[in-house]
Amino acid sequence: MVNDQPTALERFINGILPENPTYRQLLGMCPTLAVTNGMQSAMTMAGATAFVLICANIVVSLIRNLLKPHLRILVYTLTIATFVTIADRVLAAYMYDMSKQLGPYIPLIIVNCIIVCRCEVCASSQAVHIAAADAVGQSLGFTLALASIATVREVLGAGTWFGIAVMPAGFPNWVLMVLPPGAFITLGLLLGLVNWLTALWTQGRKAKPTAA
């Protein structure tokens, strides 16, 4: 029964692209749209989410044999809320400016569906090392997605990347890109791009008879 579940390596690789939380599962849209107006805030968000995801997956996996089906979501939420609060406090203590900038979005990780999804799909039925690999893979996938959106938005909208000017002097900032509409436009276009590239890639694989 356990055998037909993905292995640790598969879980890890799946999280990065084939089951990318943002581009393939369309989960966690709130931070994806809200904090990607700059690389710094996007990467802090990705880091905080990764911390919570990895810790929650490990804890849920450790107690997976004690879970009762009808109380499991309660346990996930309890676990996630605990780690989110820790992340929030640590940010407030050591990255005060960033914590102020992200404001309510750090506490909102509690309701980020990526984490509940991974607890449910993987951690509640698989061993700790697989759950950890899954969490790391998904976190990387989420980080990649946030980084791609934030790069487009920050470079076009502010002419900077990680706060460092990358565009030539006199570059007119596309203010709309750092505003909420820019988030939707960028996400939509990148989503289309990822789908298009995936389609090209699968077609290319089908063309080769050996790959089938």
Partner: protein, 335 residues
């Protein structure tokens, strides 16, 4: 006959001369009523405005219009090729989008603003929805809204003003941006010898071109009449409440892109309602929103946002304003 649901609205098969085939409406009364003909009509309607813009803004107008038109056509060709669709350039819709976009620009906008606006208009305003006929929002206005929010310095009231300008016209503030403090004389406002976006200045030219469109039925008269009528009534009320105000109801009608928007932007057949009742609702609502934005918001002018907002509810209006066919309502069948 009445009870039977009408489904036979496809064209009569070739050679079936034995029966007189009558499909249900809409009937094409004229096979020359093509997209291309309509678009060329719009271009003819735009001619007086183009001439006025060039007379008043000289090379600035030619440059701006050239940039927007060429970029729109180029983006249309590029995106169509990318999607593997035959290039629909012959239908002239990209040209119309480009000209309208160019006419809605300030004379001073740098070249890249026209290019970005064109790319957004064609790409995000039209192609992502599936091309002409599928788009929800007026492409030219999507492009203009994008650059207006992105580059407020190059698109705002200050962009129109150049105290050292070589053209006398651009040394005056636009009539709408000074509306809250002073009023421009009416006659220049009507003729169009004032500062503003390239195509918005002349009420006279917009009336000539718009009249042509309405006579040719390439634009539905209900929409401009609805918009201008609402502005007239609301502006009139405001006028009566503040009799001392120098900014009269006629300033509301002649100033800013009211006329241009009412005749050329709001009437885009793709993004406006299809039924007569729907068109009235649509036109009156646009007029209402224009007045709301002008009187209560921080923007001096709101035609663009009013049209975009109402574009968004057109599908709803279309559902709401289905006309009752002759013989009573069609019985609703369970799906």
């Amino acid at each position: 006959m009445v009870d039977k649901p009408k489904q036979d609205n496809e064209e009569a098969p070739k050679g079936s001369t034995a029966f007189l085939h009558v499909g249900s409406s809409p009937h094409l009364s004229n096979s020359r009523l093509t997209t291309q003909r309509m678009m060329i009509d719009v271009l003819i309607g735009l001619l007086p405005i183009l001439v006025f813009a060039i007379v008043i803004f000289r090379w600035f107008a030619i440059l701006q219009l050239g940039i927007c038109t060429v970029s729109c056509i180029a983006f249309e060709a590029l995106f169509s090729a990318w999607r593997g669709k035959p290039s629909p350039l012959w239908d002239m819709s990209a040209t119309v989008t480009g000209v309208i976009l160019g006419l809605s620009m300030p004379w001073s906008a740098p070249w890249y603003i026209g290019v970005i606006a064109s790319g957004v208009a064609i790409g995000i305003g039209k192609i992502v929805y599936g091309g002409l006929g599928q788009n929800i929002f007026n492409p030219a206005m999507v492009g203009r809204a994008f650059v207006m929010i992105s580059f407020p310095a190059a698109m705002g009231a200050a962009a129109y003003l150049d105290p050292d300008g070589t053209l006398k016209i651009v040394t005056q503030a636009t009539p709408m941006s000074v509306a809250r403090s002073s009023a421009t004389p009416l006659w220049p406002l009507f003729l169009g010898t004032v500062n503003g976006s390239l195509g918005e200045v002349s009420t006279l030219a917009a009336l000539i071109g718009g009249g042509y469109l309405c006579v040719r039925r390439s634009a539905s008269y209900e929409i401009p009449v609805g918009i201008l009528g609402t502005i007239f009534i609301l502006g009139g009320i405001q006028n009566l409440l503040n009799p001392d105000s120098t900014f009269t109801v006629l300033h509301h009608l002649f100033g800013g892109p009211t006329m241009f928007g009412a005749f050329f932007i709001a009437t885009d057949p793709v993004t406006s309602p299809v039924t007569r009742r729907g068109k009235w609702i649509y036109g009156v609502s646009i007029g209402l929103i224009i007045m709301l934005i002008r009187v209560f918001s921080g923007y001096p002018e709101g035609t663009m946002f009013a049209v975009l907002l109402m574009n968004g509810v057109v599908p709803l209006i279309n559902r709401w304003a289905i006309p009752i066919p002759v013989g009573g309502p069609v019985p609703v069948r369970a799906q």
